[in-house]
């Protein structure tokens, strides 16, 4: 029972919430997705996260490469690392103003 409980806690830590906007939100049908990012304790890069989004949501795959990632409300780049508690968003090039 103890081993099962810690296994479940580990699974919860694997999942990252990602906010979606504009075309990505429309195509996913939701403003937030949860992505399975693999084993905890392994460093996760933005590039990794893009791959996991494509795997978890194949319908978004065609948009992911040209989309922008933000981590904790700042633009993030493929070599940047991400942790499970970060606020992450994925969105198209902006068109405000």
């Amino acid at each position: 029972m103890h081993i099962q409980a810690s296994g479940i806690r580990q699974l919860r830590q694997l999942n990252m919430k990602i906010k979606l906007f504009a075309t990505l939100k429309d195509r996913a049908g939701t403003s937030e997705i949860v992505v399975d990012t693999g084993r905890p304790g392994q460093p996760l890069t933005v590039a990794d996260l893009r791959r996991y989004v494509c795997e978890t949501c194949p319908g978004l795959a065609a948009l992911v490469a040209s989309s922008i990632v933000s981590v904790n409300r700042e633009f993030a780049f493929n070599h940047d690392t991400v942790s499970a508690t970060d606020e992450v968003a994925l969105f198209p090039p902006v068109s405000g103003g």
Binding site: T23, A89, F91, P93, V94, S95, G96, G97
Partner: protein, 149 residues
């Protein structure tokens, strides 16, 4: 006297007179107001309305960053207002306002306003969906951020 900085992401109609009053201090003899409006005709194409969506928490941070950048580049300006309206808007309605006050127009007021709107359109996480007679589509931005943005 501190320099006024008014930043907003709002569904409310933009009140340009209020923004001018809000950024102008007794030291100011020049106020530049840029407002972007919903354009209904682009060549032969017709737009009936625009709908804007924002990642509001990040957008406010970026407006704050742009105001700091404006003050660094244009050290003589005083008041700044940066307002992005979101939600549904009709042709002719203001969608965005950039307002800059300064002692004199030669103190960089025009240039700072131009820089402000150009920067807003590069880095503020807001997207617009255009409705035309034949349907709606998100407008694609063409700027990819670089480190420091």
């Amino acid at each position: 006297m501190p320099n006024p900085t008014l930043l907003d992401i709002t569904t409310n109609p933009i009140d340009l007179n209020a923004l001018q009053a809000g950024v102008t201090t007794p030291r100011d003899g020049a106020v530049v107001i840029f407002t972007g409006t919903v354009r209904g005709e682009t060549g032969a194409a017709r737009t009936t309305r625009l709908e804007y969506e924002a990642y509001a928490e990040m957008a406010m941070g970026k407006l704050s960053q742009i105001a700091e950048e404006m003050r660094k580049k244009f050290a003589l300006i005083h008041g700044i207002a940066l307002v992005q309206r979101v939600g549904l808007m009709a042709v002719g309605e203001p969608t965005v306002a950039v307002v800059v006050s300064a002692g004199h127009r030669g103190d960089g007021a025009f240039e700072a306003a131009r820089f402000g709107i150009d920067r807003l359109k590069q880095i503020v996480p807001v997207w617009k969906k255009e409705t035309r007679p034949d349907g709606s589509a998100w407008v694609e931005g063409d700027y990819l951020p670089v480190p420091g943005d």
